[in-house]
């Protein structure tokens, strides 16, 4: 078996222009990225740079235009069955209670109802929602919905976890709590995690490695930084360590120019009258 859980090899991804107007858009170009089994890798980059595109390619929801994705050494065809995906926006089914949502994946696998219910309840308890199983998503707060989504993904025990800015909609306190919880759960069962974020603090506090992407179009990795902060970490406390600040300065130096570039491009797109990627 390969050392790497997920490999992106010279991935390129272009989208066709809508209705034949204008030329196509290259979201990702010549990107290679390898994630070891059990490694926590964050990808940061300016908004709209194609981070989510990369993640969708890793999940198999999107086929790359060029290059290859490998999952534990095997080329990926169709959906990535060994990956769990935590989406940026609400992905819970509003017509199912929290418990029913968590047991969804288990049911899809044909697990008997009772057993699935029991396991789902266990996961709900692990994310601190043991008493809220019968609530519908609209009755839960944003943080609780994220917890439910996390339990839903973890219940299937995936070898690779893909997270697309999962906490960007949460307030800062809830967010730090969730980050700590994710780190705790991850430490208990080390899975390969590919974590997309635009928040550099979050990336450094949580990861083993931070990858900086360039501004779009044709996003590609600009640099990689190993985060050698000791674990276990507390995301709020780790921020005051000198090494954290040092790393932050280093990475920010690379990221800053890209953020400015990305911002300028967005302005241009807006002014150019094209709203495709606004």
């Amino acid at each position: 078996m390969s050392d790497f859980a997920l490999e992106f090899l010279q991935i390129g991804c272009s989208f066709k222009a809508r209705e034949g107007q204008g030329k196509g858009y290259t979201a990702v170009a010549d990107t290679s990225l390898r994630i070891r089994a059990g490694e926590f890798v964050s990808v940061v980059g300016p908004t709209g740079c194609g981070k989510s595109t990369l993640l969708n390619i890793g999940a198999g929801l999107l086929a790359p235009s060029a290059g290859e994705v490998r999952v534990f050494g095997q080329p990926l065809r169709g959906l990535n069955a060994r990956a769990g995906y935590m989406f940026q926006t609400d992905a819970l089914m509003p017509w199912r209670s929290a418990l029913d949502n968590v047991m969804l994946g288990l049911q899809y696998r044909g697990m008997p109802e009772r057993q699935a219910r029991q396991q789902a309840q266990g996961w709900l308890e692990r994310v601190g929602l043991g008493a809220f199983g019968h609530h519908y998503p609209h009755q839960l707060s944003g943080g609780m919905r994220k917890r439910t989504a996390l339990a839903q993904v973890l219940a299937l025990d995936p070898d690779i976890i893909l997270m697309d800015e999962p906490f960007s909609a949460l307030d800062i306190q809830t967010r730090q709590l969730m980050e700590d919880e994710v780190l705790e759960l991850w430490a208990a069962r080390k899975k390969a995690v590919l974590f997309i974020t635009h928040d550099l603090d979050e990336a450094i506090a949580m990861s083993d490695r931070v990858v900086v992407l360039s501004a779009g179009p044709a996003t590609h990795p600009l640099g990689e930084f190993a985060i050698d902060l000791p674990r276990p970490r507390n995301v709020a406390e780790v921020r005051s360590q000198p090494r954290f600040i040092e790393l932050h300065t280093q990475i920010w130096r690379v990221l800053r120019d890209e953020v400015l570039k990305g911002y300028a491009q967005q302005l241009n797109l807006k002014l150019g009258g094209s709203d495709h990627f606004a």
């Binding site: 609400d90 209670s97 969804l104 994946g105 049911q107 899809y108 519908y136 009755q139 839903q152 299937l156």
Partner: protein
Amino acid sequence: MWRYIQPSEGNLRIWQVGVLLAVLLAWQFASRDPQVAFFLGEPLLVLGRIWSWFIPFGMGATAVFPDGLAGRADIYPHLGVTLLETVLAFGFGTVLGLVCGLWLALAPLASAILEPYLKAANSMPRVILAPIFALWFGLGVWSKVALAVTLVFFIVFFNVYQGVKEVSPVVLANARMLGANQRQLLRTVYLPSATAWVFSSLHTSVGLAFVGAVVGEYLGSARGVGYLILQAEGTFDVNTVFAGIVVLTAFALLLDALVGRVERRLMRWQPRAGETEKL
């Protein structure tokens, strides 16, 4: 004094009843003129007619009803037929609309081919199909069911179609990532999402099923409330026509309330306006 009579939240019911009474009184008063009564009927006689239809015992001559009231209780078979037609049409129409809506929404090519015909079929005034259905299915229950099904079908069909098209792409992608196959996607994503839309159209479709049944009867039948109205019209018995209208309205309201109940039961997961409870 005026403070208590003035319309407000508290005495809404009283005012509602008051409006009804005022209309009835004006009507009764107007019908004292026999010429007006010929066209407009008389509320008390309408009431008497409804009594005779529903109550199995009569009443002797009184001041209000000088001829007394016959207790025939003979509307039940007619009402039963009309309700049976409504329920059958509602059931068939909903299931058919659900199946076709799901199919066409998930098969873009088929929907592209059939689209102009569906549009045409929907914009056609479908009541004119009644003679054809009478020809095909006879004057019994089934020709009315067929007519009402055509009314219900399109309502449900378009709602299901819309419902499937508007499934959140994130929910769909999530279900796929959790390992759902096509059949599981249909059962756990498309169907519940479409059901929400069907329920939003249920009130309309129950009403239309009722309309279809009654219009069908009115156009040719041997039974049903529509048939009673047709008979009364033939003999210029305007009181019976009005009685039929009142009975139909009452039962339409009843069906609507029933649907509302089922809806509340099954759509518990949907947040209602002002009711969203955060924890």
